[in-house]
């Protein structure tokens, strides 16, 4: 019984920490963006940007966030080039989303460049997070 209780406590503590981390990572980043002069953030603006398509000059193909993440954020996506399965973007379907500041930063860098051909502005990143965190 004692072991069971300890395990339960550990799981509970972990869950609390995990949920805090999620709120924490998004909040931390949005605060940083605000400090850089951006804000307030709008989910609607984030959604619009998310669905926008951009022509990639090199490949001649249209690209958008949905190219890999698909139209349903609660479903798995697929890497456009390698076919590797991408876990769902929506935190409701994937609790690990938006929990690590480092990961969010890295993916913004990589994927903004892939879709838009440039890095995203602080305003755009804040809007994206505002849109995605509610999914």
């Amino acid at each position: 019984m004692k072991i069971g209780f300890d395990k339960l406590t550990a799981v509970l503590i972990f869950m609390v920490l995990a949920s805090q981390a999620q709120a924490g990572a998004v909040d931390t980043l949005q605060q940083q963006y605000t400090a850089a002069g951006a804000g307030p953030f709008s989910a609607a603006a984030g959604e619009q940007r998310w669905k926008e398509t951009h022509l990639d000059a090199k490949s001649g193909k249209q690209r958008s966030c949905q190219t890999c993440h698909t139209k349903d954020l609660t479903k798995s996506g697929k890497h456009a080039r390698t076919g590797k399965v991408i876990d769902p973007m929506a935190p409701s379907a994937n609790t690990e989303r938006f929990t690590q500041v480092r990961d969010i930063k890295k993916w913004f860098k990589r994927n903004c460049k892939w879709v838009l051909g440039r890095e995203c502005t602080a305003q755009e990143k804040g809007d994206f997070l505002e849109y995605l965190k509610g999914q």
């Binding site: 090199k58 890497h79 080039r81 390698t82 076919g83 590797k84 860098k109 990589r110 460049k113 892939w114």
Partner: protein, 404 residues
């Protein structure tokens, strides 16, 4: 050596080839054929080595049986001198055509040659398995580079044995025609027409039963794994070495594609790839400096230059020292190994990309790429295992069929 007879004397059927000798003969033929048919396609290495081990076991048994076996199976009974072979062959074209109940002198020499070459073939095969594949009784005894000579020996003796088997068959056919007796049939039935003085042998059923049960047990032990395998837990006949893993590597590479094991490219390739991380096949990775250093250390420690596996050795060997390839799929060895796979196969939904190694190679994640560990998804070629399973899964319908 005294068991010759003239065709005019009175004859009776006599058991000449005991059951162990006959079992040995036909199993040897079968395993040689199986090994021959499976030598080219790496996918069937497990079948090939199964045939090879059985072949070796049979020959070792024959060496023992040649000493303690029944009359006509003993080496002493058919150890003729070269002069006797010549005399026998000359006799075939003259009046003095002698009929031997056991092996004739020319046939006897063929048997000794077949056993000798067979042993060289099997033992050299063991060395190839141990050297190239790092498996079997002699695993790791010789280096990858040294194993090349054993592979050549193995190939040459295989052809020599095929040639010898051809001579043996030619002899059997001509002898059958000359004496108007079916020698192939005799190797099945065991009996021949012989005169009163020729001794008959006992069938030695127990020894034959032991050979056949051992063979059956070996079949089950080798291939039983295929029957219990599932889609998620495929059966891997060969397990490669445990290669060093790195969580950093797994995370950094594995988030966009299979985390290709560093043993697939030389260190200089990984170095250049990580140096060009802002243009990684057209994409900017934005990896942190600390991560790059960790990745590089891991890649260098386990790169193809270290020849940890057969695939590492072969990939490295096929890359000229002056070249620094970045794409695994552009390395000569890779191209050579995949040239038979056509575009339609690559485009299958289950494969999609040439970089999707794990679609076919069941141990791609581990980086070992064992020979018998690949199955092309969606191939509708005959699959013996699926077929066998479908029979085993439906015993009731099968039985009904038999009853009617």
């Amino acid at each position: 050596m005294t068991t010759t007879t003239q065709q005019t004397t009175e004859t009776r059927p006599v058991l000449v080839w005991d059951l162990p000798t006959r079992s040995f003969h036909w199993l040897l033929v079968t395993t040689f054929a199986i090994a021959w048919l499976t030598h080219e396609d790496n996918r069937y290495l497990d079948v090939h080595t199964f045939a090879g081990y059985t072949f070796l076991g049979l020959l070792l048994f024959r060496l023992v049986w040649g000493v303690i076996g029944s009359h006509y199976a003993r080496f002493q009974q058919f150890s003729y001198s070269f002069a006797e072979v010549i005399a026998y062959l000359k006799g075939l074209f003259g009046q003095d055509m002698r009929r031997y109940i056991g092996h004739n002198p020319a046939g006897a020499w063929a048997i000794f040659a077949l056993i000798g070459f067979g042993l060289v073939l099997a033992v050299s095969g063991l060395f190839v398995l141990g050297g190239e594949e790092r498996h079997g009784l002699l695993a790791g005894i010789v280096s990858f580079d040294q194993s090349v000579i054993f592979r050549e020996t193995h190939e040459i003796t295989a052809y020599a044995l095929l040639g010898l088997a051809g001579f043996h068959l030619l002899g059997v056919i001509s002898e059958s025609l000359l004496h108007r007796e079916n020698l192939v049939g005799a190797m099945f039935r065991g009996s021949k027409q012989a005169d009163i003085e020729s001794p008959a042998v006992r069938p030695h059923r127990l020894v034959a039963a032991a050979i056949l049960s051992l063979f059956a047990a070996y079949v089950v032990a080798t291939f039983g794994g295929y029957l219990t395998a599932t889609q998620d837990k495929p059966y891997l006949p060969f397990k490669g070495p445990q290669l060093a893993k790195s969580q950093v590597w797994q995370d950094a590479c594995g988030e966009c594609h299979l985390a290709f094991h560093p043993s697939l490219l030389p260190a200089r390739s990984w170095e250049m790839m990580l140096k060009q991380q802002d243009n990684h096949f057209g994409e900017d990775l934005f990896l942190e400096k600390g991560t790059i250093i960790e990745l590089l250390a891991y890649a260098k420690a386990y790169s193809a230059d270290h020849k940890q596996t057969e695939v590492a050795w072969r990939m490295n060997r096929s890359i000229p020292i002056t070249k620094t390839p970045l794409r695994i799929t552009k390395v000569d060895y890779w191209v050579k190994k995949h040239h038979e796979i056509n575009d339609a196969v690559w485009k299958r939904d289950s494969i999609k990309s040439r970089t999707n190694c794990a679609a076919c190679h069941q141990d791609a994640k581990q980086g070992t790429f064992e020979d018998a560990g690949m199955r092309i998804p969606g191939d509708n070629s005959f699959d013996a295992i699926t077929w066998l399973r479908s029979i085993l899964d439906k015993p009731s319908t099968q039985q009904q069929g038999v009853q009617r």
